[in-house]
Symmetry: C2
Amino acid sequence: MESINQEKEDTLTGDCGEWIMPVKDALDALHGRWKIPIIIAVSFGSKRFNEIAREVPGITDKTLSKELKDLEVNQLVSRKVINSFPTRVEYAITDHGRSLKNVMIELRLWGRAHRAKIFE
Amino acid sequence: MESINQEKEDTLTGDCGEWIMPVKDALDALHGRWKIPIIIAVSFGSKRFNEIAREVPGITDKTLSKELKDLEVNQLVSRKVINSFPTRVEYAITDHGRSLKNVMIELRLWGRAHRAKIFE
């Protein structure tokens, strides 16, 4: 009896489709290895292209360029042209991007647990 | 002053790398559009290959087959051969897969908010 309750606590409730549909909407905006790390990088302050590239290990310039465009379309990151000389371009987190905070917190916790599990 | 506090509340704290590294570990196991929906599908009970394919809209057999293997390697889904005649294969959620529950909850909430935002 106890083990059944334990299992229930960790089990998703409701209808399978009611979970898959909104999660798929989220993943369509966030999918891949790069978008969330890029969002994290700009969460710590507006950054230029090369600054983001340095923060996100392993990303190529071509991929970063494509991912930034996708993130702009989904209103998660905004591109700001700063009227200096020479003109500077910076990428900033939007309010909608900030609303991912709880997703980040849970992914971070789980990422740590997963690393511990896989190397145990 | 108020708007600064508001911003702080929604901002990640600490060091950028301390967020990116564990989140990248998580995404290396979960990346793509398909893995999390597959995990959700088997969270609602063990399923055969074709049953999962029906629950996850748009997935091809080839992709599902590859994703299931990746999920097994990361100990998120287990493959059970059931000794019936004919032999049946079922895929089940593991305890480690169940530990993704909070990630799913936050992705579902955010997916709903994102859909509302993009169509607003």
